[in-house]
Subunit: 145 residues, 2 copies
């Protein structure tokens, strides 16, 4: 049950790492993040560029440069990140891949899937990077294998 692409997975883990390091001021370098999380530096850089272009991150070049969240981590929610990295229709897809699946023309699993998607969306809408970052800071949850 693979729900998220690698780009999204890496992006999310990196953002939660950023949130978990909230006591540090200034920018965190992509090099540090990719090393700590054991993610390919170049791949993460590309994903971060997308997040920067969409206002989730701000970046700064040069020595002591890096990336930082544009907003306090308690104002950034999983939905925001998923929308940027997976597309705005992320929570609006038919389980059986039928285009335009809906109440007028539902697939046989539409009723169930609608509920499952809503639960998922609700959780993503209400889970902030701050919340996840704290879990990592408290050291009861991990971001890396």
């Amino acid at each position: 049950m693979k729900v998220l692409s690698k780009a999204t997975i890496y992006g999310l883990r990196a953002l939660v790492y950023l949130a978990s390091e909230k006591d540090r001021t200034g920018y965190l370098s992509i090099g540090e993040i990719s090393e700590k999380l054991n993610i390919s530096f170049h791949f993460l850089t590309k994903t971060f560029q997308t997040l920067t272009q969409h206002g989730i991150l701000e970046s700064y070049r040069g020595p002591n440069g890096g990336v930082a969240l544009t907003k306090p981590a308690d104002q950034l929610f999983l939905t925001d990140i998923v929308h940027v990295l997976e597309g705005a229709d992320f929570f609006d897809k038919c389980l059986l891949g039928l285009p335009g699946c809906g109440v007028e023309a539902p697939c046989p699993v539409h009723d169930f899937w609608k509920v499952a998607k809503a639960a998922m969306k609700n959780e993503f809408d209400n889970t902030s990077l701050a919340e996840l970052g704290e879990k990592v800071t408290d050291d009861r949850f991990r971001l890396v294998a």
Copy 2:
């Protein structure tokens, strides 16, 4: 939110079609199914071969040949099909892709995801092809765009 591969999507739709045509005796040809559901014949054939090899379908060659469910449709559940086409670990994957994510070493979204997966698994465990086939037969649900 793409959860199932194309192979699984096509396989499921085709199996539900088979279940929905339960009044017809004998085998249904892959040609008919692929045409009715607007699925590539060759691609569906490959998926059906996998399902045949794993005991979901039985096949018969030659004129009036085709495929048929090995068991009554009310004894075949979504979980059975998903296990064959997606792998037995389908309901056992970390949302953030961390190997070995579990109670001892959970990722930050583990608690939520565990619940979401269980709900999904419960639905798949208890939804039979017969149930879905009936919905299609009753003509209130569709299998094709």
